[in-house]
Symmetry: C4
């Protein structure tokens, strides 16, 4: 096993594709968004590359008793009306600093070989509290990239995210810029405590505007409602518990 092994599963002829990344991260926003995009473009998406690496956890996932070695995958998406895309998804980030650099470089190499010069890194930005209105915060590799993204409703904030952007999303901006890519990161606000399909939808709606996709959100909304049912049940339980505990006043009558 080399440091990195790339399986060419299929080829695809893409016209000026954009690279779209959604690996696991805050609120799983990026991964939810990208997985939904692949689901909605199923008939038009082709798995083209698998990347295996010593930098991933030494692990297989098991689905119905059958193993799959940890990897990340690139899908070519070609739809009649929207921009062609190369979509990166996977279950794991690299496990070391050097691994992040290695994998991001490899992904940019592949994207270049498919003719891409633009990329969108999708993710979440944690706010620490539950959210009603899902804003999308942006970051770009070059100031000239801001206007079209701002037109799509994305906010650029002076000091956000305060800690910068870490992992593959950050490096797609940083290494991407060094190789001449126009790189944009779209971060849906999310509490940071829960998997957040609503935040993923907010991010996808920006992408829809920018790349002219036309997506349905039924399945993503369903997952959001399931999550909200879970949250409601937890909140009910907490309310119930606080009712079960007698207040100070009640205690007078007990003793």
């Amino acid at each position: 096993m080399d440091e990195l092994e790339i399986d060419a599963v299929a080829e695809a002829d893409l016209e000026e594709p954009v690279l779209i990344e959604g690996l696991p991260g805050v609120g799983h926003v990026g991964k939810l968004a990208v997985d939904h995009l692949l689901e909605e473009t199923e008939g038009e998406a082709t798995l083209v590359r698998r990347l295996y690496s010593r930098e991933f956890p030494p692990q297989v996932t098991i689905d119905d008793g059958v193993s799959q070695l940890t990897c990340c995958e690139l899908h070519a998406v070609s739809t009649p009306d929207a921009r062609d895309a190369l979509v990166l998804t996977g279950d794991h980030q690299a496990q070391s600093n050097a691994g992040h650099y290695l994998l991001t470089s490899a992904v940019l190499d592949i994207a270049e070989s498919f003719g891409a010069t633009e990329c969108y890194a999708l993710g979440g930005v944690p706010t620490g509290e539950l959210i009603d209105e899902y804003a999308v915060v942006g970051a770009v590799s070059d100031p000239s990239l801001k206007p079209p993204i701002e037109d799509a409703g994305v906010e650029f904030r002076e000091n956000e995210p305060a800690g910068g952007i870490v992992g593959v999303s950050g490096l797609l901006l940083g290494l991407g810029e060094r190789r001449g890519f126009d790189a944009t990161c779209l971060m849906g606000e999310t509490s940071g405590y829960l998997v957040d399909p609503r935040s993923a939808r907010a991010v996808l709606e920006v992408l829809e505007t920018v790349l002219e996709y036309d997506l349905e959100y039924d399945s993503l909304d369903e997952r959001a409602e399931e999550m909200e049912d879970v949250i409601n049940k937890i909140q009910e339980m907490e309310t119930q518990q606080s009712m079960d505990v007698p207040a100070d006043e009640d205690l007078r009558y007990i003793g």
Copy 2:
């Protein structure tokens, strides 16, 4: 010292051997199983390879004052009635992600050089509670491998093990598949708290059926009984202690 050093201790002529792995892990199930298999086939087993690596702990074990450098070993087992086998055992797993990939690749290289195209990774799956009936859970690199294993009593469960399979056992499935191996993982249910010879026996009984071994279990059962004596003593001590602590009711008569 290179990243990896392989000592060819002896050669052996094996016919379509299967690779069987049992390195330390949950409940030491895999290691107990493989060590018992080697004990029971002692006259027919030959140590053929030792693998040393910088990825192992920088450590020697001391047995009666004599040192042995950390390594893992491959034994060729050739018995008249059962399938030939190449059995991997050792006291340590690799200590880094990259190390797991490196060592598993090296083991598969050696297995290939002996003509193996099948492998069985043995291990335990933790249940979190003491066990009466030891089920064996399976995972395979390809769905076509399920039927014979199911016939031997192995269960395939939809979402188990939930966290996937980590370490050499996992990579034998994942890297094995990429190199054309038919790879199976047999995981004995075990509490996860104790070394578990009963679980190792359950796993070996499956292997016996599949590979036509004919094993005795006296020594393994003895170890299991020793473990059960230890557990009983701990439980007695706990019962005794709770008897020594006066209950609330008793306290009325003291004060």
Copy 3:
């Protein structure tokens, strides 16, 4: 992305320059000092090299929505009256042992290519308590370097710093000496709890004497006063809190 990538942003013709390093560390003393030096020599400083490395955190910083890949920078400073200098600054140290060696070696390579044979590593030495008089402690790669530094007010102490000097500052002495550099480390005393502009000024005043710079300190003093306001507010709050808690004696009159 290689282990290390060096961007030659510009060239500069320097005469016997000294390398001056100020990466983040105790009290951010070194970084504050070097950033202030670059601010004060702004018209005479040129960014000449950027160093990117897998050993840095896989991260971009975001400034007003625009990303910048983690790197460290070398600025050529050429002023009429002072010694020419090559000034190293950055937001991060390397993240591994080997990374510190790699980056320090690379910086020394570049410094050599600009004709440098002397270097000054700037930093802080923690005292564990708030400081009134800011002493500067020195360490040198060779005893012959002590006298001029002592003349500038630097103290050499028998057993300080007790734990040695770690990171790039330490290696500039250690690796620098191995390559024939005259290397000096100037460490401003600092509590170790806070960013400390006063300590940075003390270090810079030594450098001013040694290299004949003529610096203003208005902006650094301003930052120091801001820090002191913060400290005062914290101390007031603590005093207020202890006044709000009635002492034992007071309690007699309440109840």
Copy 4:
């Protein structure tokens, strides 16, 4: 800076030298022993090699204001009556698994180049309690090495040290054996809580017998007495404190 850099400081003509290692470890026994040996043979010892490595901490020690890059050193010791020796000392072990393998291999390479085929690794074995009689426990790379060591009073115990031997001492046995060295580890019993010059003396006395050295122990005994003074003071303080706390009985007369 390469992974490893070896400075040939001087050459020495040794006759069948033994390699003696004493790097920091349990109770600093090995390092104390080797440093004492070098002190006692001062006129007859020559520093021959310094080893620098990325695997050491990125650090300089400071002695009276002058820096020294972390390294380990080999001294050639040639005395009229005792066996010639190559003595390894240093302030640090490697900081990673691979680093231990790398440095031990390098040391064995150098030892071979000086004609050595035997080595003695010196260290401590922790007992967890203060010690009156300092036994020395042995481990050897080959059973044939036991008799002469046993004659010198070293004990070989069935299951000790239980956890094996870790670090350079362990690898000198393990890697040494693989390269044809006769390797012995001498471990002085020590509490494991304190720097232990008495244990170092016990180890050196074995070495004296085996290699025919004739050492004085004044300075080592002095350090031992200093340590014992410290221990006595701590014990006195503890006794005093327990006397200051009134026992239950005393309390009757107070209230």
